[in-house]
Every structure is written in structure tokens, then in C-alpha cells.
């Protein structure tokens, strides 16, 4: 289970450019959905990759599912060599996405985000509309199951019922 406060503190302390997506974003909008990890979309500029390494290194990230005895270095090269990552850290699971299906890259995701205060930190969170697009595009059963709730929230919050 991810410990949200320390990771948000660390990410915001060095001003990582990120947008919270996935279950935590869904919850922030009012859904009763339960998640175990933190998913965020991040800017892939070199400066931001360096900030991510600075922010997350203290939590000893490793690729999720990799054997513990395999050597692994979490540095800027690791992040340059991929786009989307699933990490296990000593405070829980964190997924980093450079691109979000149905929405786009960090710039697109940022444009579909809004500022919210979580644990005292000002963070960007993908909008309900963005989440609906992402979940539709992901298309897995677990994504589709949350769609009716998100669509209901979008409808009532945007006065689209009448």
C-alpha cells in the first residue's frame, strides 16, 4: 500500500512536474474506488527526470516483479530508456507514465488536469473527463468497471443531467 503523504512531499519539494492519474485521482474526485498504488504522468524533460530521481531515490524504487537479487540502478538513464514504469518502493507501489492512453503525453495530461490540495500539497490531478477517456482507452475490465461511477460524477458535477 502506498504511503501518499511522504511521496507527495518528496515530489513537490523538488517541484517534479507530474499529474496524478488513476485510483488516487478517481478518489480525489469523489469516487468510492479503492486503490493500492499511486499513478502519475510525468514530464519527460531531462530536468524533470533528474528531479524524479532526486525525489524517489530515498524510497529505493525497483522494477515491480523483478527478482530481488537482480542488480538495479534507479537513475536518469533508467528513466530515459523507457516511458511507462511500474516501481515497487519501500513505501509502496508507484507507476510513472510518460504517456496516458486516451489522453496523450504530459502536456496533454496537464491540460486536462486541475489543481487540488492533498495532504497540504498543491498537486495536479487528471480531470474526471480525462479519467473517463483514459479508462475507456485502457479497456481492461478493472478500468471499465469504474466508468459508470465516473460518468455519473461527471454528469452531476457538470450539470449535464437536464
Amino acid at each position: 500500500m502506498i504511503q501518499l503523504e511522504p511521496i507527495l512531499k518528496s515530489l513537490t519539494a523538488v517541484e517534479v512536474e507530474f499529474v496524478i492519474i488513476g485510483g488516487v485521482a478517481i478518489t480525489a474526485h469523489g469516487s468510492a474506488y479503492l486503490t493500492q498504488d499511486l499513478d502519475f504522468c510525468y514530464s519527460r524533460t531531462n530536468g524533470n527526470l533528474e528531479k524524479i530521481v532526486t525525489a524517489l531515490s530515498e524510497f529505493s524504487p525497483r522494477f515491480r516483479g523483478f527478482p530481488d537479487n537482480l542488480p538495479f540502478v534507479f537513475d536518469i538513464s533508467t528513466l530515459r530508456n523507457g516511458t511507462n514504469f511500474t516501481f515497487r518502493t519501500n513505501i509502496g507501489d508507484v507507476d510513472l507514465l510518460g504517456e496516458v492512453a486516451g489522453v496523450g503525453n504530459y502536456k496533454d495530461v496537464f491540460e486536462n488536469s486541475e489543481c487540488k490540495e492533498l495532504f497540504g500539497f498543491q498537486v495536479r490531478v487528471l480531470t474526471i473527463e480525462g479519467l473517463i477517456r483514459a479508462k475507456r482507452a485502457a479497456g481492461r475490465t478493472k478500468d471499465l468497471l469504474v466508468l459508470p461511477e465516473l460518468e455519473a460524477l461527471f454528469e452531476v458535477l457538470n450539470d449535464e443531467e437536464d
Binding site: 488516487v24 486503490t35 492533498l118 455519473a152 443531467e161
Partner: protein, 74 residues
Amino acid sequence: MKRTIEEKLLNPKPGSKAAAAREFGIDLTLLVENLRLTPDQRVRNLQQAMYGIEELLKSSKRKKAKNDTTRTNT
């Protein structure tokens, strides 16, 4: 008269997304409760739920290990 968000969720109009969600099995009263909270409160509640689940899993593992040990010793 314009209906409030809570009214729309508690008494959704036929054909609305809220009605579809309810038919799908979503408990809309949970949404009503959550919408009364700030995003910060919602995410803090989520964190507490995560810790609760983690504790439950740990407790279940401890119980299983204890049962396995008892079985081995008998």
C-alpha cells in the same frame, strides 16, 4: 427548480448516467457522502482504508503461519 447534486444522485432521472450507474450496482449514497468532503479528506480516507486492508492482510498471514506451525507440531 434546479436540482442539487445530491438530489440528482439520490433520485436520478431515468436515462441519466447516475441512473445507469445505480443500475450497474454503484452505491450512489457513497458518492453523496464523498462529495460532502474535500478532495484532501477523500484521499486521507483512502489512505486510512489502505492501511486497514494492509493490517488485515498482515493479520491473515500471521494467523495462517501460526496455523501452519501448529499443524506441523501435531
